[in-house]
Symmetry: C2
Subunit: 449 residues, 2 copies
Amino acid sequence: MATLKTQAAARQILDMNAFDAGAHEGNLNPLLARRMANAGAAAVLFYREPIEVVSAKGSWMTAANGTRYLDFYNNVPSIGHTHPRVVAAVADQIARLNINTRYLNSVVDLYMDALKATFSPELSNVVLSCSGSEANDLAVRIAGATSGGIGIIVSENAYHGNTSIISDISPSGRKSRKLPDHVVTVAAPSGPGQSASVEDAFDADMKRAIAELERRGHTVSAFVCDSIFSSDGVYADPRGFMRKAIDTLRKAGGLYVADEVQPGFARTGDAFWGFARHDVRPDIVTMGKPMGNGFPMAGLVTRPELLERFCEDTGYFSTFGGNPVAAAAGMAVLDVIREENLQENALRQGNYIKARLADLASKDERIADVRGAGLFLGIELCRPGQKDRPDAEVASSVINGLKDRGVLIGAAGRYGTTLKVRPPLSLSEEEADIFVDRLADTLADLKLS
Amino acid sequence: MATLKTQAAARQILDMNAFDAGAHEGNLNPLLARRMANAGAAAVLFYREPIEVVSAKGSWMTAANGTRYLDFYNNVPSIGHTHPRVVAAVADQIARLNINTRYLNSVVDLYMDALKATFSPELSNVVLSCSGSEANDLAVRIAGATSGGIGIIVSENAYHGNTSIISDISPSGRKSRKLPDHVVTVAAPSGPGQSASVEDAFDADMKRAIAELERRGHTVSAFVCDSIFSSDGVYADPRGFMRKAIDTLRKAGGLYVADEVQPGFARTGDAFWGFARHDVRPDIVTMGKPMGNGFPMAGLVTRPELLERFCEDTGYFSTFGGNPVAAAAGMAVLDVIREENLQENALRQGNYIKARLADLASKDERIADVRGAGLFLGIELCRPGQKDRPDAEVASSVINGLKDRGVLIGAAGRYGTTLKVRPPLSLSEEEADIFVDRLADTLADLKLS
């Protein structure tokens, strides 16, 4: 079982909640065994007993055995699983035309216009690609061409994607957490025991990171940052805390790359984009996951002069990026967010869940903190009454206990102790109640055992 | 117009046949102006007057003005534009379920099984991603983990994709053609004036490249190679010429990465995969473009122990890679290739076109060479009777003349003088005739002018 053990170790880097074949007792079910044989060491599956899913609708997924699960895990089908508008848009366009951007097609420009309308006017160039990883890879290269340097600053437990240079700036993607010489981290903006004002502390840390890069002989190129600090454990407050640090970064010649793969497309409720909550202006914004509600698409926006500088020696062309089927899917997502008031709903349901969780936390000493914005919340789990002692075992038990009660949820943070609350933006109050009630039941049962 | 000029320069790196806004006279049409404003310096459009396409079917695309074009350009919709089987598979699956590979879903494993069946059994692990660029990026990292080195060998005019490290090994993607220290090139296998046996010459060049890497202090990691040498100008013969060089590479500790993004999925007619024509065994095979007939998907296959080694410190997860909608599209492509005998058709129509072109070449001194395999042919254009003097002006005029006659085709090679014949694999003999007849007409008209 050496192979399975290595597989398990590899998988656990990316997710505390990974299936562990090495620890698995008895025979694997046939489909699971087949997946392990097909995907090998790169297989990454959720849960002690992975779920075979056969269909999904709205906030719900249905397993092969008929069990229905409320999906609080996945921020890709963000307007709801198999949303009819996206289904119709894709089915219609793929039957009509699917080509690359070397030909003109009005569906694509209609989408680029609509996407640009969500940003301030200086971010007027769009590059469409296939994945958030590709978008971040290009963003780092554009920043390099602009700054003339390679020094990158990221948060301590950042994850920005899977290409080579993006893996280099994603400490949470590596077991060893070793980072190359040109990458320096800053602490997530808030945490237990931090007394100074969050804005000043974050700015001081940015100054330290810049000085460290300079000490190592690297020119500062960019600060790449997910403003909801998702993989760090979800830190959203106080609004505006990034301003001083971004000013400091600019003075040092660095660009601010807002990675909106996680908080983008209305999820944080306060604004359409996560960075906008903090009243800062990125030089480049990257996006992905919920952009096509699951249709593979991603991209970035930036100022024309940055793209022009980058294109002096190299070109950029993506075969699939900006195909009209993706554009149709992306347009349906933008339309639905607006027409169904999903940003407002994210704020309302997020605040509702937060209030109910605060109530739960006041009665349960294992909940150290409830934080976040809109429908991107973090629930920090700790040893009873010891807020500074994160408890990964409780987190894992809660995740699996919720699964047994029909609710899917994941964890983040350095120790995997922050439950990530991330349901579709179309969540109803009834569904919000189901989540909180089942979480309460799970914690109550854990107390008894 | 400084911006437009820079844009044009950037675009011409990637394609000799790019729209050139700097050289454009008069006003741009509204959609073209809008695209230039949206995509900025990264806009890459075909033709002196870009085409607005509104629909496509089989081998034909229809422009907004009603003009129908025979598509000899695009090897993505390889089984034919908007093939009903792919359309139905995508429409059905996207209405049912679209999730990531952290959940089990039999559609995905059914596809991985079917894909693996096209390779020899040792290549038993599949990693699915979104683009050929991502697949090649991962392949280079896997090779690095296996070899412990970073030295890469590619062909002189290679193009392997758009991520940072893949751009580094894609000389044709850079205007300056500057390559990093760890990248060394070998000449495409055949060319004017080469006298030694192709196999021996290619092997000797591989030895030189390995020695050069070692001289620079780099351990040889991989030879990344498109076996049809598409961007080098399409060099397919003689079959088997790569064997000695691959043996030499292995002895030096390097891995052979077969980039099948261009020749794969039955296009070369002789075999399902391009490398298989040469009877060599890759350590990693990457694929993309025609894999989903336009649905964004890509991937690689490799031996389990290579993936395991790579995953020791890092994980690999792609949010969109291996989603069931992509798997359904990919399965439809494999089914259609088999059921419609497209590999056989590629060979038959390719040989038919080759024979007709040989006849044309015997009467026209501007055709220096006709080469290639299946429906991936190259037509080398030169100054009349001077086979060793490639003529980019004739190539450009032929491309635009064919467009005026309703046939779309592109160019490749160091000087952009190799017409790439790359129609859908479902091409009919009637369509093959249309192409050759209109090429003859175009050349005849050029002669007169």
